[in-house]
């Protein structure tokens, strides 16, 4: 459903994302993790068409996100780190716009908002909502209509425990509904709980990918899968540290070549 084929992005010659291959099947949940500047948001934004790749191709439901962008986005639900609309935007206007472009009845959209606990805020401006309310609004809009690919960039940011639970529910429902879900997060416990596969990115490069057990093995951590809580933070630290060393090694090699 989502396919990245040697997808790459650089800014002024500086690579933000090195060629990345990834497939997310219908009903599958894949998480992108990594420190800031790893290329997680860049990957998601290329898929939404808001950033143009400098190499490779990406597809959503078989549609190339660059050459067939509108068709690709027809199947896409996206939650960005910021609302991505002016703060003065009235919620009802935004809901009606999303309903119209996704071909969903306005009443259905309003109901989705009520389900998110924002039924009484239709006349408010987005800037009048708290950070958590804004996040709930944008999640409700991202999952509105027949979404085949759901992209979420830091979905639990600004949310309290109840809001985080709603995010987990939204991801589970999207998975059950047959959507391919790709999300970026620093919330490693959510990642371990929700994701079928995890991709660890460091400085634009994939360090490891697979299930938690695969990552534990890659990190050289012995993990008996019987305990409920996997040592995800320890696995993450080892892999990120290894990725940073590898990136530093590449950089010094480049410098030696240049010298």
């Amino acid at each position: 459903m989502i396919r990245l084929d040697q997808l790459a992005k650089s800014y002024g010659g500086r690579p933000a994302l090195e060629p990345l291959n990834l497939e997310v099947a219908a009903g599958e949940v894949v998480a992108l993790v990594g420190p800031n500047g790893a290329g997680k948001s860049t990957t998601l934004r290329i898929l939404t068409g808001t950033v143009r790749p400098t190499g490779g191709r990406a597809f959503i439901a078989g549609h190339n996100v660059v050459t067939d962008a509108v068709a690709a986005r027809t199947h896409l639900g996206y939650l960005s780190q910021r609302p991505g609309v002016p703060a003065t935007t009235v919620i009802r206007d935004l809901v009606e716009l999303v309903a119209a472009v996704r071909d969903v009845a306005s009443s259905t959209a309003v109901q989705a908002l009520a389900d998110a606990g924002l039924g009484d805020r239709l006349r408010s401006g987005i800037g009048e909502l708290s950070g958590g309310q804004q996040q709930r609004l944008m999640i409700a809009l991202a999952t509105l209509g027949p979404v085949k690919a759901l992209l979420l960039d830091e979905p639990s940011i600004s949310l309290d425990a109840e809001g985080s639970e709603e995010v987990r529910r939204a991801i589970s429902e999207a998975r059950t509904g047959g959507a391919a879900v790709l999300f970026a997060s620093h919330q490693l416990h959510d990642v371990a709980l929700l994701a079928d596969r995890i991709v660890v990115l460091v400085q634009g490069r994939v360090v490891a990918q697979g299930t938690v057990a695969d990552l534990a093995q890659a990190a050289g951590i012995v993990w008996d899968t019987s305990p409920a809580e996997p040592p995800i933070e320890r696995i993450y630290r080892v892999l990120v540290s290894r990725g940073r060393k590898s990136a530093a090694g590449r950089l010094s090699l480049v410098r030696e070549d240049a010298a």
């Binding site: 934004r45 939404t48 068409g49 808001t50 950033v51 143009r52 962008a69 509108v70 068709a71 986005r73 027809t74 896409l76 996206y78 960005s80 910021r82 609302p83 991505g84 609309v85 002016p86 003065t88 935007t89 009235v90 206007d93 935004l94 009606e96 716009l97 999303v98 119209a100 472009v101 996704r102 944008m138 809009l141």
Partner: protein, 271 residues
């Protein structure tokens, strides 16, 4: 409802909630009434002057004020396009986002011009009679054409500049160039070119700026070569009665081309 139409409705709703349009309407209404009232005071007469005199006096105000307002509004709207990450992730073409912003601004500011000058026109009509009222109506048409063109130009500037601050700075510089630069070029052309050959070049220069096109189109309402100046007179000599149509086409071109360029630029931009 098509997605583009839904987007236009969304942008229009946002533009109508803006605070500036009512001030513009009040400003244009006051300007119209003031010009009508003080126009005859230099001759020692305190009376409301009719539509013909008021239209001539208002024309200069329109070709100076409308473009600066529209260029700045368009530049801000264009720069803000880069903040629309959510809208850009919807199944909509980037061109449609730029077009809807232009349409919403044109409708809102156009309504402000129409409301302001229209209400001033009603007062003038009641106090000074309706003679030459059609000239006043056509003057409003010229204001709407130059508004549409300079809004499109402003949007292109804003989309290319990315930041609001830079966009407004460039918009003001472009306004100076359009208002003064083309006049200076015309003076230069008159000084350099032999008198018989200047006409076609001056006509082209007239269309090289939407401000000058609007001024010449406005003056063509009065059928006088004296007030039209050298470029207007040259246009009449070269194109005759078709000059007004050529100027209208130039203003429409000044809307369509920058709008297309803004859409193209935005389509290739990272947000």
């Amino acid at each position: 409802m098509t997605p583009t139409l839904a987007l236009c409705r969304f942008e229009l709703s946002a533009a109508l909630r803006g605070r500036t349009a009512p001030y513009f309407a009040a400003g244009f209404g006051l300007a119209g009434l003031t010009v009508a009232l003080v126009g005859l005071s230099a001759g020692g007469v305190l009376a409301v002057q009719g539509f013909a005199r008021t239209s001539v006096s208002l024309l200069e105000l329109i070709v100076w004020v409308v473009p600066i307002l529209a260029l700045i509004s368009g530049a801000v709207a264009g720069a803000d396009c880069h903040e629309l990450e959510f809208t850009a992730s919807l199944p909509l073409r980037r061109h449609a986002i730029v077009f809807s912003r232009w349409a919403a601004s044109t409708l809102t500011l156009g309504a402000a011009v129409l409301l302001g000058l229209g209400s001033a026109g009603l007062v003038i009509g009641m106090l000074a009679g309706s003679a030459d009222g059609w000239r006043y109506l056509r003057l409003i048409g010229v204001a709407l054409l130059v508004l549409s063109a300079t809004l499109a130009l402003g949007l292109w500037i804003g989309v290319a500049a990315h930041s609001r601050f830079k966009a407004v700075g460039v918009a003001v510089a472009v306004w100076f160039a359009l208002v003064i630069g083309v006049d200076l070029a015309a003076i230069g052309a008159l000084a350099v070119l032999p008198p018989g050959e200047a006409g076609p070049w001056l006509s082209v220069l007239l269309m090289a700026s939407p401000v000058n096109s609007a001024r010449a189109l406005g003056l063509s309402l009065f059928h006088t070569d004296v007030v039209a100046g050298p470029t207007g007179a040259a246009l009449r000599a070269v194109l005759g009665q078709a000059g007004a149509w050529a100027l209208t086409a130039a203003l429409i071109g000044w809307t369509v081309v920058p709008l297309g360029l803004a859409g193209r630029r935005f389509s290739r931009s990272d947000l």
